[in-house]
Symmetry: C2
Subunit: 467 residues, 2 copies
C-alpha cells in the first residue's frame, strides 16, 4: 500500500507490509525516518494529520499518533500549535557510497608465516571448556572483572609458563590481554610514561614492531640480526632503553638467540636500567629438543615477556598475557583497565579450564607432530626441487628461511610465484628501509598441509633453482 | 632426596620427587634455575660434574648433561673449557612481596548503578550460540579476522540497531569493539588525530568520561545537565568540538534529553563541524513506552554511537560496537587493528547467532519484565519508608535518583547506610570538582532482586527520611 501526499508535500511513499514480522508502527516509524534522512521530507514541511494518514494507510489513528510522538521525542518531527506536525530536522543526506574493497588476491597455496594450522583448531575441546566456564562461573564472574585478568587464569598461566617456559612469575605478575599486539601496546605505553624515548627493534623483524613503537610516541631504532640473533653490541651504541626481541625463534630469520647474546642482552638492560620485551610467539613448537626457556626466567625484573594462544590455538581467540616486572605492573594493569576494562572473562575461564584439564598440552603435542611432518615435507620438497637452496631457522616454530644466492632477486621470485598462485614473502620486506642483507624467502608452513607444501614447491621449483 | 655441594659451592639443595607428574629433567632444571635466581648459586660458581651430580641424585648422567645443555642455551650456565660448568648469570634476587589487596568492603545489599542482573545471564543461550559459532566457523574465521569486526556480526548489528534504535547504519559503518570503554578510546583518539583539543562531558556524569578524555590527550569540559538533559547553550559557549552524551537515559540523573535539546545539539555539531559521541548504554530498557531512538539516526555523519552488550547480556562478554561517521571510519578501524587486531571472532559469531536466532530479543523482553518489577518494588519501598522522597529518572534503564531535600548531607547518608551494609552512591561523586547541585542518591536496581530492594530500603528508611 502506498500513499502520495500530493499537494501537501513532495511525493513521499510509505510502504507497509502486513506480512512482515516487524510491527506496523515500527515500519511506519522507519519509513518516516528514512524520508527525513533522504530529504524527501524537509525541515518545516507539514505532515498529514494523524487522522488523514491513518485513513490513507488503513491503520488506526492511535498508531499514527504514537508514531508521531515517538519521532517528536527523537527530534525528527515537532508538533506545532495544537495540531500540525512538521519536520523538525533534515540533515544533509549522507551520500551512501559503499567503499571499494580491494581484497588481496587469494593464493591457492600460501606460505605466509605467522599462521597456525586453522583446520586443527580443537573446537570440541574449546567448546567443552566454554561450557565448563559458563557452568561454573559465579554471578560475580559475569560482571566487570579484574582488569588485570581473572585470577584463575593468571594462576594457571603463571604455573604453565613456569613449567613449560622456565618463566619466573606468580599470578600477580601476569596481566591478561587480547593477544601480543595489545600486550605490546600496553607495555610501550608504560615505558613511555616512565620516560623512555627510543625502543630498539630487530632488523629484519616483524613489520608491525616499528609501527607499534611509533604509535606509542616512541622512536624505533633498528638493530641488525645475524646468525646468532640480535647484535647486542650494536644495541649498546644506541640511546634505546628498551628492545623488542624474539629470542626463542627470531621472526623472521628463525635464528635462536645464543647463550652469550642472551647474557649480553640482560647485562645491557642492567646497565641502561632498561627493559627487554620478549615476544615469545611460537616457542611451544621446537622439534630437535626442548624449547629454549623464556628470557624472563633469567631476569624477571628486566624482562617483559608477552605470549598468546594465537599460535597454539588460533588467532580468533584473542587472548594473551604479559609477564610484568614489578616496577611496571600498576601502570600496565591500570592502562589495561582504561583501554577496555579487561579481557572477556568467560573466554579467560575457558582457557584456564582448557589448560588445567590437560587438553591444551595434548593439543600442543599433537600439533608438534603435525608441524614436524610439514617441516620435513618442506625440507624434502626443497631438497628435491631446489637442492642447492639452504634452509635455515628450522629448529622451532612453523616458518623457515630459504637463503638465496647473492644477487638473486627475491622480489621477482615472489611475483613469479604469485602468478602461479603460490604466495611467498621475500626477506626484504622485513628489513628496515636503509638496511640490506642477503636475499631470502620466508616459508611459513603452519597453515599449509603436506600435500599443499609438496604441490606448492613443485610449482615453483624452477624459480627457486634460478634464484 | 637432597644433595649438598659442600666444599664446591654454598649449600644448595635439589629435591627430586619421583611421585610428581613432572619429569625428573624438568624438576632438575627448575631446581637449578631457582637456585640461580635466588642467589644460592652465584655468577662464576662451579657446578659439580654431570657424572658426580648424576650419582648424587641417583639419575642418569645423560639427564644431567641434557639439563646442563638446556640451561646453557637459556643463559643460566656456561660450559668453561672442556668440562667445567659454571653459573653464567645471577640476577639480583627479586624480593617477592605479594602486594597488599584492599578489597572494597562488600555490601550485603548494593545499589551500585551500571550493573545488570548477573544471575539472569542467559548462559544456556550463550553456550548454544558459541556452539553454533564454532560448528559453522570456516577455518579462515579462526585466523586474524577483519579488525573492523566480523562482517556477519556487523550486518546483524546494523540491522538490529536500525530496527530497535532507529539507527541509520550499514555493516560498513560498524566497528566492533570490546565494550563502551574501548569504543570511546578509539573515537577520542581519532578525534584527537583529526585536530580536536577539547571534548565536553556531562556534569553530573559518568566518572570515567573525563578520565578517558584526558588519557586521549584531550581537555575535558564539563557541561551542566538539568532536568531536560545537557544544557546545549552552555556547550556552545565552550571551545569543545565534541561531546559525550547519554541522550536516552542520562547517567546518572536518568533524564531523557528533550527533543529541542536533541536538535540544538545536532545544530551545534553542524556549526562547529563537530561530533556528538552517543553513549547508548541502557536504552534497551524503557518501561513507559518505546525507547527514544538513537541520536545517530538523525545525523549519521555527526554522531558516533557506541553501544555494548554489557547491560543487555553481561559485562564479562566484552563486546560492543561503534557506529562511525564516514570521515572517521578508516582512522577508527585502523586504530582498532593497531590496538589489538580485532575482537575475538568466535565471540562475535556467537553474538551474531544469538541476535539472529531471536534469543537475544527474547532475553531482553524477559529482562524488561524483571527490571520493571524491581523498579516498581523500589518505588513502593521508598513510598512506604520515605514517602516524601521524590524519585526521578525512572523512565528507562535500571537506576533512579532519589532527590534529597536541600541541605541534606548525602555523604553522611551513604556512610551511615554502609554501616548497615547497604551500598549507596551520592549524586555528588558524579559531579565535577567545581560544580554544585541539589543532593541526591543514585539507586541502581539492575543487580538487586526484589527481596533485597525491600530489605535494603527498609534498613535505611530512617536515613532517607532524615535526609
Amino acid at each position: 500500500m502506498a500513499v502520495q501526499w500530493s499537494g501537501l508535500t513532495p511525493a513521499t511513499f510509505i510502504q507497509l507490509d502486513r506480512q512482515s514480522p516487524d510491527a506496523l508502527g515500527s515500519q511506519l516509524q522507519n519509513a518516516l525516518r528514512t524520508a527525513v534522512r533522504e530529504g524527501r521530507l524537509r525541515t518545516g514541511e507539514r505532515l498529514p494529520s494523524s487522522r488523514r494518514l491513518a485513513v490513507d494507510l488503513g491503520v488506526s489513528r492511535g498508531l499514527v499518533q504514537a508514531t508521531y510522538e515517538q519521532l517528536e521525542a527523537e527530534g525528527y518531527l515537532r508538533a506545532v500549535g495544537g495540531s500540525a506536525t512538521r519536520v523538525a530536522f533534515s540533515p544533509q543526506a549522507a551520500v551512501v557510497t559503499p567503499p571499494k574493497r580491494t581484497p588481496a588476491a587469494r593464493m591457492e597455496i600460501d606460505f605466509a608465516p605467522g599462521r597456525p594450522d586453522l583446520n586443527s583448531f580443537p573446537a570440541r575441546d574449546w567448546l567443552w571448556a566454554c561450557g565448563e566456564a559458563a557452568r561454573t562461573a559465579a554471578a560475580r564472574d559475569l560482571g566487570y572483572g579484574d582488569p588485570q585478568g581473572s585470577i584463575r587464569l593468571r594462576e594457571v598461566i603463571a604455573s604453565y609458563l613456569q613449567r613449560v617456559r622456565g618463566a619466573f612469575a606468580g599470578a600477580d605478575d601476569v596481566v591478561i590481554c587480547n593477544g601480543f599486539t595489545q600486550g605490546a601496546v600496553l607495555t610501550l605505553a608504560a615505558l613511555r610514561a616512565a620516560g623512555a624515548t627510543s625502543v630498539a627493534v630487530e632488523d629484519p623483524g616483524h613489520l608491525d614492531m616499528p609501527v607499534l613503537v611509533r604509535r606509542a610516541g616512541l622512536n624505533p631504532v633498528f638493530i641488525p640480526v645475524d646468525d646468532r640473533g640480535l647484535v647486542v653490541d650494536d644495541l649498546a651504541r644506541t640511546k634505546a632503553t628498551a628492545v623488542i626481541v624474539t629470542p626463542a625463534h627470531q621472526a623472521p630469520t628463525g635464528v635462536v638467540l645464543t647463550p652469550d647474546r642472551r647474557l649480553a642482552l640482560l647485562q645491557w638492560a642492567e646497565q641502561v636500567n632498561g627493559v627487554v620485551i620478549e615476544d615469545d610467539y611460537d616457542s611451544e613448537f621446537r622439534y630437535d629438543k626442548q624449547s629454549v626457556g623464556s628470557l624472563q626466567g633469567l631476569a624477571a625484573d628486566r624482562v617483559v615477556s608477552i605470549g598468546s594462544v594465537s599460535k597454539s590455538l588460533a588467532p580468533a581467540i584473542r587472548l594473551g598475557w604479559v609477564l610484568v616486572p614489578r616496577h611496571l605492573r600498576a601502570r600496565i594493569a591500570e592502562d589495561k583497565r582504561r583501554s577496555d576494562r579487561g579481557s572477556p572473562t568467560l573466554d579467560q575461564l575457558a582457557l584456564a579450564r582448557l589448560m588445567e584439564s590437560g587438553r591444551f598440552d595434548r593439543h600442543l603435542r599433537r600439533m608438534r607432530g603435525v608441524y614436524a611432518a610439514r617441516r620435513n615435507e618442506l625440507v624434502e620438497a626443497i631438497g628435491q626441487h631446489a637442492p642447492d637452496l639452504v634452509l635455515t631457522g628450522l629448529a622451532a616454530g612453523f616458518h623457515a628461511i630459504a637463503q638465496l644466492p647473492e644477487g638473486a632477486n627475491e622480489v621477482e621470485i615472489v611475483d613469479a610465484a604469485a602468478q602461479r598462485s603460490v604466495g611467498l614473502q621475500g626477506l626484504g620486506r622485513y628489513r628496515s628501509p636503509n638496511s640490506e642483507g642477503p636475499p631470502g624467502i620466508v616459508f611459513g608452513f603452519g597453515d599449509v598441509n603436506q600435500d599443499a607444501i609438496r604441490r606448492g614447491i613443485a610449482a615453483i621449483g624452477d624459480l627457486l633453482r634460478q634464484g
